[in-house]
């Protein structure tokens, strides 16, 4: 995992420093970097990237802690937990397209309010999406990153004994929210720190969501890097490499800034903890926070439903709230041509999933037996994609590897494996090790202990992890685009490509597949273990931490 990332970074650093013999550059100097700095709107692009990354991360984290504190120990948290999988499984691009459906000037929300409340008979000339400071981009990122951080926090709860700590704090007179914030959150934050930094790195360097919702005068830096790299003018590659290096430096600077603020914030939080304030007043905010969470979830689900409806919508003039007709033939006409793209998507996702599951299990077993440097695998989530994928591509081409399905699937593993580890690590550790000890004393060797005891008891987490890998793979845009050299088409590359066009039915068509494939994978992941162990009540309890 370290090798492709480092090699990829080297592959952009060299051209950025003027060494790119393929196009005759052997300058070895700062000219290309100085040229990048002189590009029109460069500073603004950097600021938009930094701003959207930081604000999206702060808001996602703030909402995560607020919703957890407001709902901990209540039925609402159980409901929120159940809603997580379908929201998490949706690719970022589909979530962004859902927002476009809802909030565009000709979007569903304004249609519902027009003309009776707004007076609009035609779509207004408002810059709701693609605003210059990237607020719509931030909104899409928060909608996707909040569930991710929420899931990470839920997975870490048993390790910090959250329930017991809250009970002790409440017995000392703290309110519900105060008990969680004082007694659990500081410990929980330490556990989810790496995912938070991954969210920061991703948000500051995202490409597909930024293409759909981000500003374009100028665009965020990562989008401009992709444009330079895609330019027919080969010398733009060098500028693109310098831009990719700039994204890497920007993300590193943001991470350092975050860690510094974290230290200061930790001191302030420590003082507040020692102040003895019971924070009972905060319990009055619980209703508001739950309402905000409901609005966010509703926004996501409305957007998803809208995209599916959009795929079969006939003539749909503004300000009609609903299409005048549904055109089912739109699917019938497109489906035969889409089968190739669908099978490519499936093959890549399946290969990446199988390799990631095997890799994750091998690493977790090594970790259990004395520690493996598992953290290295999170590196692809912390290093911006644009900062190493182009370099990796250059090296792959240099090594004579032809862009195609196999290399794309292997590149997907770089991203699916960390998610497989994140999803599987908690349950893998939580399984009572004594089951295997007992099996050992009954004469079972290592293989029989593993395949006869551990794997069957881990069936549900393994299936859910497989579904997550499929969802991640289906949603990967930049790795597919770059490493596939534009020749490998998946539902996500098609959806993003459609998003810059005007055919809304086509956008809805591809976005529907983006929604359906992960949803089907998660449904299967839940159904299969439930079927296999329908008469075995104790299987779930075996995975609870003791």
């Amino acid at each position: 995992m370290l090798v492709p990332v480092v090699a990829g970074v080297v592959g952009i650093v060299l051209p950025a420093l003027g060494y790119f013999p393929v196009i005759g550059y052997e300058l070895w100097g700062p000219e290309i970097i100085l040229g990048l700095l002189a590009e029109p709107g460069f500073t603004r692009s950097v600021m938009v990237s930094a701003w959207t990354g930081l604000v999206a991360t702060v808001l996602s984290l703030f909402l995560t802690v607020a919703i957890l504190a407001a709902t901990f120990g209540t039925r609402a948290l159980v409901v929120a937990e159940r809603l997580l999988a379908p929201i998490l499984s949706v690719p970022h691009a589909a979530a962004a397209l859902g927002l476009v459906f809802l909030f565009a000037p000709s979007g569903f929300i304004l249609r519902l309010l027009s003309p009776w409340a707004t007076g609009y008979e035609v779509p207004p000339d408002l810059l709701i999406l693609r605003d210059p400071w990237g607020w719509s981009l931030v909104a899409a990122l928060v909608l996707k990153e909040l569930p991710f951080l929420f899931l990470m926090a839920l997975a870490a709860m048993p390790q910090v004994k959250a329930r017991e700590r809250v009970m002790v704090a409440r017995s000392l007179g703290y309110g519900r929210m105060g008990a969680f914030l004082h007694a659990v959150w500081p410990l929980l934050y330490r556990q989810i720190r790496l995912p938070v930094l991954a969210v920061l790195a991703f948000s500051a360097s995202v490409v597909d969501v930024a293409i759909i919702l981000g500003p374009n005068r100028p665009a965020p830096l990562s989008v401009r890097v992709v444009e330079w790299m895609g330019s027919p003018d080969l010398s733009a590659w060098a500028t693109g490499s310098a831009g990719a290096l700039a994204v890497l430096v920007l993300v590193l600077a943001l991470i350092v800034l975050w860690l510094m603020v974290e230290v200061a914030g930790g001191r302030v939080a420590g003082q507040i903890c020692l102040s003895g304030h019971r924070m009972r007043w905060a319990d009055g905010l619980r209703g508001v926070i739950v309402a905000v969470a409901c609005v966010l979830a509703l926004t996501m689900f409305l957007g998803f439903g809208g995209l599916i409806m959009q795929s079969v919508a006939g003539f749909w003039r503004f300000p009609d709230a609903w299409p005048s007709a549904f055109v089912w033939s739109a699917w019938g006409d497109r489906l035969p041509a889409a089968l190739g793209t669908l099978s490519t998507t499936f093959v890549i996702a399946l290969v990446a999933t199988v390799l990631s599951l095997v890799g994750a299990v091998v690493l977790l077993e090594a970790d259990r037996r004395g520690g493996a440097p598992v953290w290295i695998l999170y590196l692809p989530l912390l290093v911006p994609q644009v900062a190493f994928l182009f370099g990796l591509n250059v090296l792959a081409i240099g090594a004579g590897v032809t862009p195609g399905l196999a290399i794309v699937a292997l590149t997907h593993v770089i991203f699916t494996l960390p998610y497989a580890l994140i999803a599987l690590r908690g349950p893998w550790r939580a399984l009572d090790a004594r089951y295997e000890q007992v099996a050992g004393t009954l004469g079972a060797g290592p293989l029989r202990r593993f395949f006869g005891v551990r794997v069957p008891l881990m069936l549900l987490p393994l299936c859910v992890t497989a579904a997550l890998c499929i969802a991640v793979s289906v949603g990967l845009y930049l790795p597919t685009l770059i490493v596939g050299a534009g020749r490998v088409e998946t539902v996500t590359t098609e959806a993003v490509a459609a998003s810059v066009g005007a055919d809304r039915r086509l956008i809805g068509f591809w976005a529907t597949f983006q929604l359906l494939i992960p949803a089907a994978a998660f449904a299967l992941a839940r159904w299969l273990p439930a079927m296999v162990y329908r008469d075995r009540r104790g299987v779930r309890a075996a995975r609870q931490p003791g």
Partner: protein, 215 residues
Amino acid sequence: MSLVLNGFSVSLDGHPLAVLDGEVERGKVLSVMGPSGVGKSSLLLGMAGLLEPPFTVAGRLELNGRDLLATPSQERALGLMFQDPLLFPHMSVLGNVMFAVNRRGRDGARRNRGRRAELALSHLKRVDMHTLATRDPDTLSGGQKSRVALARTLAAEPEALLLDEPFAALDQALRAQIRRIVFSLAAQDGLPVVMVSHDPADAAAAGGPVVSLMA
């Protein structure tokens, strides 16, 4: 048939936790008593070959003349029972016992699934659980689970039994009943038993020598 412990010790990070000496004859019970944290359970896990670093074991441990410390855990033929019966939740009661039936036993027909099921059922009969063979283990009472765990342990044809507070989770009446079953079957099979317990009544019922470990 006997289990011989000669300066058998368990250490954590190089610091000795507990040392055990003695010989346990077939059908007899050696009771190991002592407060929490002195390493009683670690001794049993060490004997079974289930301790991993930073724990280490030293000394001699012989079963019927075999050097167990040089034998992989799955070949030591030591049956281990915990306080928690730890029945495999993904298998039926019969499946749990079948898991333990040795495919390479004296009986050459054991590769046959039906034969293994018959053997497993006969072990369940010994603890009077054969009528519940198809049940989900999670639907059994605490006492029933303990009996299935015992049948499963005996089905592996161990040459000695290690009991880690196996009765602690049971109420008084049930505890006496299960104790009686365990000790009588161990005696029937001629198995040396090492039992770790907090409860002097367990040691009294076992009737064998008692070793007290100090903190």
